[in-house]
């Protein structure tokens, strides 16, 4: 089923360029979703939504003019194209003839979630609740969330480009609160992907079990140490460190405004030679994967760090054009109500040879940061902060007591230089990345990584 007939798309583009512009684009989208949650032993907030709309943008020099509209009716699209063109001051241009649409990398969905009976989703929540509560008497609160989204998109450009993509994502999350000895701790876990219900075929309740284990572990936690320490960062969600401390600084909008610590450093040796990292939106069925990006460029694997050298930034069409390079397929947007910007897809360190145990064995006194609650970076300076949601002390090469309240503070360039070991256990987790008021699903991942020294801000005085 198509959203916009190509003839109508051509007319919209022609209207959009009626007062000039280097490029015009029509982005159409039909999005829908279903979500349901369980809290306090009760299934609640069942919710279904459907939205359709389009965004038209015209680029002239360094300026972008855009508008969006709810609905995909012919008069809506023509009206928004005319109103965008109104703001442009130039001579009319003719769009190129539209090519046949590309669809990019495939991400097969075996069982479309919308075909699974909703009652089964409610059952899944109850099973997760039971699993979490069975983990220990101290489990006090369990919150489980299930969500599925479908996004059908079409993109048409005045350069003749046409593309379409169907995206289905599902995600299961668990948050468990444990109480004991006057202490309250929270554990979380998630499973998700650009995939269908098949993702939950194998023991989905484990997500709740893991969240419960994390909360219970923290009940015995000691205050986090303070100071400069070696840190072993866990796989999967540990990759949020790469995402925040490096990835954001490689997005070409920050680079071109010289608002990134990585600007002008292509080719520089930023990390030891055993460090390689990718952004890969084509990785099958991964959370941040798509067939084409939101400008119609097929997703691909981009090597951002190769054997320690900085090899590529991440581009959308606008920033690529400015530098005379190709888009890397990183032009993403939250919805038809937004314009694209360079955004990461799935960003991760390539696996090395070590085992996590090897990395830990080499640390006399340090921190094992298994998972983060999130993080933040100032791309202009590279300074970052991460909250450690599950962490342990490392003493004499062994993992000992769990710690609470640890924060990692540092600088991206410095942290890259300090990497001194990478394990083989690559795994990718499901993140949501916010930037410029837009939130997109982003895969974060890595194998276990050891950093020689980072500032750990703890609660212990």
């Amino acid at each position: 089923m198509t959203l916009v007939p190509p003839e109508l798309a051509a007319t919209v583009l022609e209207r959009a360029l009626s007062r000039g512009g280097d490029m015009a684009e029509l982005y159409a989208e039909a999005r829908g979703g279903f979500a349901i949650s369980l809290d306090d032993r009760r299934v609640e907030r069942p919710q279904r939504g459907r939205e359709r709309g389009a965004c038209v943008r015209v680029v002239l020099g360094d300026s972008t003019y855009y508008g969006h509209v709810d609905g995909l009716a012919e008069q809506d699209l023509l009206r928004v194209a005319a109103s965008v063109a109104d703001a442009v001051r130039g001579d009319a241009r003719e769009p190129a003839a539209l090519q046949s649409p590309v669809t990019g990398a495939r991400h097969d969905v075996a069982i479309p979630p919308e075909e699974v009976e909703a009652a089964r989703k409610a059952e899944l929540l109850r099973a997760c609740d039971e699993r979490a509560r069975a983990a220990g008497a101290e489990v006090a609160q369990v919150r489980i969330g299930y969500g599925e989204t479908q996004r059908q998109i079409e993109v048409f450009g005045s350069d003749g480009r046409a593309a379409a993509d169907d995206r289905t994502r599902i995600r299961l999350t668990a948050q468990v609160v444990a109480r004991g000895d006057g202490r309250v701790e929270t554990g979380t876990d998630t499973r998700g992907g650009h995939a269908g219900w098949e993702l939950l075929d194998e023991s989905p309740e484990d997500v709740a079990g893991t969240a419960a284990r994390r909360a219970l572990t923290l009940l015995d936690a000691v205050d986090a140490p303070t100071g400069r320490l070696p840190v072993v960062v866990g796989n999967a969600f540990g990759g949020v460190l790469l995402h925040e401390a490096v990835g954001h600084g490689l997005e070409a909008d920050a680079i071109q405004k010289d608002a990134s610590i990585y600007a002008g450093r292509l080719g520089e040796q930023l990390a030891p030679a055993f460090v390689t990292a990718y952004d890969d939106g084509s990785r099958p069925n991964e959370w941040g994967s798509e067939g084409v990006d939101d400008e119609g460029t097929p997703t691909r694997r981009t090597t951002i760090i190769e054997e320690g050298r900085l090899t590529s930034y991440l581009y959308d069409l606008l920033r690529a054009r400015k530098e005379g390079v190709e888009s890397t397929g990183n032009g993403r947007r939250e919805s038809f109500r937004h314009v694209p910007a360079p955004r990461m897809t799935n960003t991760f360190f390539a696996p090395g040879d070590a085992t996590p145990e090897d990395l830990i064995a080499g640390v006399e006194r340090g921190l094992y940061a298994v998972s983060f609650g999130g993080g933040q970076v100032e791309p202009a300076t590279g300074d970052f902060v991460f909250g450690v949601s599950e962490g342990y002390l490392i003493e004499n090469g062994r993992v000992t007591a769990p710690v609470r309240g640890a924060t990692l503070v540092g600088n991206g360039l410095e942290a890259l230089r300090q990497i001194d070991g990478i394990a083989a256990d690559l795994e990718i987790a499901t993140g949501y990345c916010g930037k410029g008021g837009q939130t997109v699903p982003a895969g974060v991942g890595q194998p276990h990584v050891r950093i020689r020294e980072l500032t750990v801000g703890g609660t212990a005085a």
């Binding site: 349901i36 809290d39 306090d40 009760r42 299934v43 609640e44 907030r45 069942p46 919710q47 279904r48 939504g49 459907r50 939205e51 360094d62 300026s63 972008t64 003019y65 855009y66 508008g67 969006h68 509209v69 709810d70 609905g71 109103s83 965008v84 703001a87 909703a118 009652a119 006090a140 609160q141 609160v177 202490r183 929270t186 303070t226 100071g227 405004k257 010289d258 608002a259 109500r337 609650g373 999130g374 993080g375 933040q376 100032e378 202009a380 300076t381 300074d383 902060v385 909250g387 309240g405 640890a406 924060t407 503070v409 540092g410 600088n411 500032t455 801000g457 703890g458 609660t459 005085a461």
Partner: protein
């Protein structure tokens, strides 16, 4: 009015498809956005949006659906989807429409001047913000200066006969300036907001961005210590946002708030007075009624050091045996109503910022925090967040500092607030908050 008609129609459709009760929320808005970089317009948009959200009850079960199609067929489809969703929920004895609906008297939500501002004028305003941010010596770049505004209407109808609507306008601008370069680059943010562009002071917004960046030039990582801290209004607002979330009756009833079971108890220093104010005209989140039609009001939360009460929607009020405080929030038509803060207001004190620093003697002035979402555990209240600012030396603002964390827990922090500054302002952090700077007796600062 047209939107009320759509809302009424959706409610009728929900009842026709088998719902026992229903409400419908309809929104329509237009937004404009200008983005300036290096003295040139980098982005300009003008966009419209609309949507409807229907909450349907089948007995004591509640379901929700939303959509963008406001045609008769579209409304019917959303209403039916909401009724079908309700079948999936477990019974909830407290679910239902509010017992009491109405509107509070809030004037001035929509500015009459708003419509007279042309695209050219708001572009000029944004350029002015940008020029001001770049003007002071030492500013190396302005990352961007952004102006955005919105005007819109919302309507709410329910199956007990409620049909009501209101219109609101809003304008805001901000700028992000850089001072220094390379490893010594520091950033600063300036913000302003109002009901129309005329309420914004473009020069003040730009200069604030520049001054905040310049104040941090040459920042270094200081040694770890425990010391008194002054939080500027931006930072104080972020923390106040977490305190407001703890006052949610929903969080309290689900055992997810540190305030659970502490109503009437001493939770803060008497210097701190905090209220949720949903009906003050200059509050960005003010409205005549909340997301389910209860009139908004002012709810005192902390006075004389005591926790006076919580924030309720109709469901949590029913469960507690009280009445709604008009805090059923709606993020947009995409989300069902749930308990949320409106505008959090910290009552201003007597001391100007310089006097707060003088009281501190030796300590830290925090002008920026990072990593709040990962660094604050809203359940246990412990936090450790990244920060930058300046040391307070000899009662005056001294050496700029960065790459530090400040740690404490929310309850200890509330009790440690010693002085409240006199310069209160609205800030778009922590939700919608009006607060002056706060002086806190002690926090753990971790640096080198």
């Amino acid at each position: 009015m047209r939107l009320e008609g759509s809302a009424r129609r959706a409610v009728e459709e929900a009842l026709a498809s088998g719902a026992s009760d229903a409400d419908a929320w309809v929104e329509e808005s237009t937004t404009r956005r200008v983005r300036v970089y290096a003295g040139e317009v980098e982005g300009l948009s003008d966009a419209g949006a609309h949507g409807i959200g229907v909450r349907a009850f089948v007995g004591q079960r509640a379901g929700y659906a939303y959509g963008t199609d406001l045609s008769d067929d579209g409304l019917a489809e959303v209403a039916r989807a909401a009724r079908e969703a309700a079948e999936l929920a477990d019974e909830d004895e407290y679910a239902g429409l509010p017992d009491e609906t109405g509107t509070s008297d809030v004037d001035g939500l929509a500015s009459a001047e708003f419509g007279s501002w042309s695209t050219e004028q708001i572009v000029e305003l944004t350029l002015e913000v940008d020029r001001a941010a770049r003007s002071p010596q030492g500013i190396t770049q302005v990352e961007n200066s952004i102006y955005a505004d919105a005007q819109g209407s919302v309507a709410l109808a329910n199956s007990r006969g409620l049909a009501s609507s209101y219109r609101a306008t809003q304008a805001w601008a901000y700028s992000s300036a850089f001072a220094g370069a390379g490893a010594d680059l520091m950033t600063g943010l300036g913000v302003g907001m109002g009901r129309d562009p005329g309420e914004l002071d473009p020069e003040a917004i730009g200069l604030e961005a520049a001054e905040r960046a310049l104040a941090l030039v040459g920042a270094r990582q200081p040694a770890s210590r425990r010391c008194p801290v002054v939080l500027d209004a931006f930072v104080a607002a972020s923390f106040i946002g977490f305190i407001g979330a703890m006052a949610s009756a929903d969080a309290v009833q689900r055992g997810r708030s540190l305030f659970a079971g502490r109503e009437g108890e001493e939770v803060a220093d008497p210097a701190l007075r905090l209220a949720d104010v949903g009906s003050e005209p200059d509050g960005p989140s003010s409205a005549p009624f909340d997301g389910e039609g209860t009139p908004t009001r002012s709810t005192p939360l902390i006075e004389d050091g005591r926790l006076l009460g919580f924030l309720y929607d109709s469901r949590t009020a029913r469960k507690a045996g009280g009445s709604s405080t008009g805090n059923a929030g709606r993020g947009s038509y995409r989300t069902p109503p749930s308990v949320g803060t409106t505008n959090l207001v910290v009552e201003a004190g007597e001391l100007e910022l310089a006097e707060l620093a003088a009281r501190v003697g030796e300590g830290l002035y925090v002008t920026d925090v990072a990593g709040l979402h990962s660094g604050v555990n809203p359940v246990s209240g412990t936090f450790s967040v990244g920060a930058s600012g300046r040391l307070i030396e000899n009662g005056e603002f001294g050496t700029p500092v960065r790459e530090i964390t400040i740690a404490s827990d929310l309850v200890s922090m509330l009790k440690a607030v010693r002085f409240v500054g006199s310069e209160a302002r609205w800030v778009p952090f922590g939700g919608s908050v009006k607060t002056p700077p706060l002086m806190v007796a002690e926090m753990a600062l971790s640096g080198s």
